[in-house]
């Protein structure tokens, strides 16, 4: 049980995909302007990360590893994730149109998101079991959610600030992003000390 909690918390805070591993920066900078689109995007990411892990972990351990095809991991995972997201979109459109509408364009956008691919591959390299992989994916998704929501707050403050002309737009956003990610360094070592193994 302790191991699951450690995996979850460290995925959310210490190895935060956006702020520590620098994966998924594109939506982090692109979609964090407004709180509601940031939440929509993050929810879609959590959902897709879980689905992708559930699909890719069995493929790795029952198809690729027994046949000595470990080197095909990346391309197969991309293929499977892309197909999966499309399938999920079709199903949602048919059965849960309200959710489909609120996830909107974000669902197909995530198809090639590196954070999703990153989670599935890191689950394999960390040698997690299936359950641990799922917990790790949930934590990573939640970490993405946390980073997006925090940063959309930061950005709404930036909107109203008096910024030098040459810093306006992307430069000040990048500066703010780096300071936000610095603050997450403070979590280093916290979880390990909370739950000594």
């Amino acid at each position: 049980m302790t191991k699951f909690i450690v995996i979850l918390l460290s995925a959310v805070f210490i190895n935060n995909y956006v702020l520590s591993r620098f994966l998924g920066i594109c939506p982090f900078l692109g979609v964090s302007k407004k709180l509601d689109s940031a939440t929509g995007m993050s929810l879609a990411v959590i959902f897709v990360m879980l689905m992708a892990t559930a699909a890719t972990w069995p493929i790795q351990h029952f198809l690729l590893v027994p046949n000595d095809l470990g080197y095909l991991q990346t391309i197969v995972f991309i293929l499977v994730i892309a197909a999966l997201v499309q399938l999920v979109e079709i199903v949602l459109k048919r059965y849960v149109p309200s959710l489909h509408k609120s996830l909107g364009v974000y669902l197909p956008l995530i198809t090639t998101n590196c954070a999703v691919l990153g989670v599935t591959i890191l689950n394999i390299t960390e040698n997690y079991t299936f359950l641990e992989s799922m917990v790790n994916s949930l934590g990573s998704g939640l970490g993405f959610f946390l980073a997006m929501v925090m940063f959309s707050g930061v950005r709404s403050k930036i909107e109203g600030a008096d910024i030098p002309e040459s810093f306006k737009g992307l430069p000040v956003t990048l500066v703010a992003a780096s300071i936000t990610s610095l603050s997450f360094l403070g979590f280093g070592g916290v979880v390990e000390n909370m739950f000594p193994l």
Binding site: N67, L72, V80, A82
Partner: protein
């Protein structure tokens, strides 16, 4: 060669399986969209003004497809030509659109009324209204900072002598200005009628007189002279019922303060058609 095949074949197989699943899924779970929807949507002007009462042109097009009882003549900016196209696509009879134009019910310009304070805050009627109801001495009147002019999608409103005026030949009758005005001075009027009340002051006559020489004092003279009983003085201001108004002009001739006037209200659709 063999190693390449070992790598390629699994990927190809996985790709084919994924493709097959997607094809089956999209066939089985296809969402039926009304095939008329794109055609109906194309007829509408796409201004998303909301004058039809639906959330934008998409909303109106959807309602038209789903519910046959929704009338096809609700698009005021599109006027007769759009109504005609819509009824062709939907196969219903053509109904005439009542074209409308916006009218600002205030004539308190610099000549007729005075400022009570100097306002140098944000250039916005909504902001000015929060400060003691605006700078003018009449709290019902036009604030003159042009929120309506900024909102107008067709640039048909301008501020002249401190009062918003509608340049009617550019007005498409969408009603966006009416929703924007913090004093609710703007209303849509059928564009064939000409008599309009240019005051919204609901104070008693003596009070109105004090703040503006062009205001309606509620003397009810218009009520008496109107041959069709279309004018009523409600809350100390004359209101014209356009269903009854016959456009005779008697009210304007007899108005004590000349706040009922005959105006040329033909909107842009008139000029397009002629």
């Amino acid at each position: 060669m063999n190693e390449i095949l070992i790598a390629v074949i699994p990927v190809v197989i996985i790709g084919i399986v994924c493709a097959a699943v997607l094809v089956v899924a999209s066939k089985l779970m296809a969402v039926k969209e009304d095939e008329r929807f794109p055609a109906v949507r194309d007829c509408l002007p796409g201004a998303n003004c909301g004058a039809c009462g639906y959330a934008g042109c998409d909303g109106y097009a959807k309602a038209l497809c789903e519910d046959p009882s929704v009338p096809a003549n609700l698009c005021i900016p599109g006027a007769d030509s759009v109504a005609k196209q819509l009824s062709e696509v939907l196969g219903v009879e053509v109904e005439d659109v009542v074209e409308q134009v916006a009218v600002v019910h205030c004539s308190g310009d610099c000549e007729h009324t005075k400022d009570k304070v100097i306002y140098d805050g944000i250039e916005s009627c909504a902001a000015a209204k929060l400060m003691y109801g605006g700078k003018g001495s009449c709290t019902y009147g036009c604030l003159g900072l042009g929120d309506c002019a900024k909102a107008c999608p067709h640039d048909a409103i301008y501020i002249k002598d401190g009062v918003a005026s509608v340049y009617t030949c550019d007005c498409i009758g969408c009603g966006v200005c009416a929703k924007t005005c913090p004093n609710h001075l703007i209303s849509l009027v059928p564009d064939v009628k000409r008599a309009v009340v240019l005051c919204s002051n609901r104070d008693k006559g003596a009070l109105t007189r004090k703040v503006c020489s062009a205001g309606c004092i509620g003397c009810k003279k218009c009520e008496k002279v109107c041959p069709s009983g279309a004018i009523k003085v409600e809350n100390n201001v004359a209101v014209i019922d356009y269903d009854k108004c016959t456009d005779c002009g008697a009210c304007a001739e007899n108005c004590t303060t000349k706040c009922i006037r005959i105006e040329d209200l033909r909107g842009c659709h008139h000029f397009k058609e002629s």
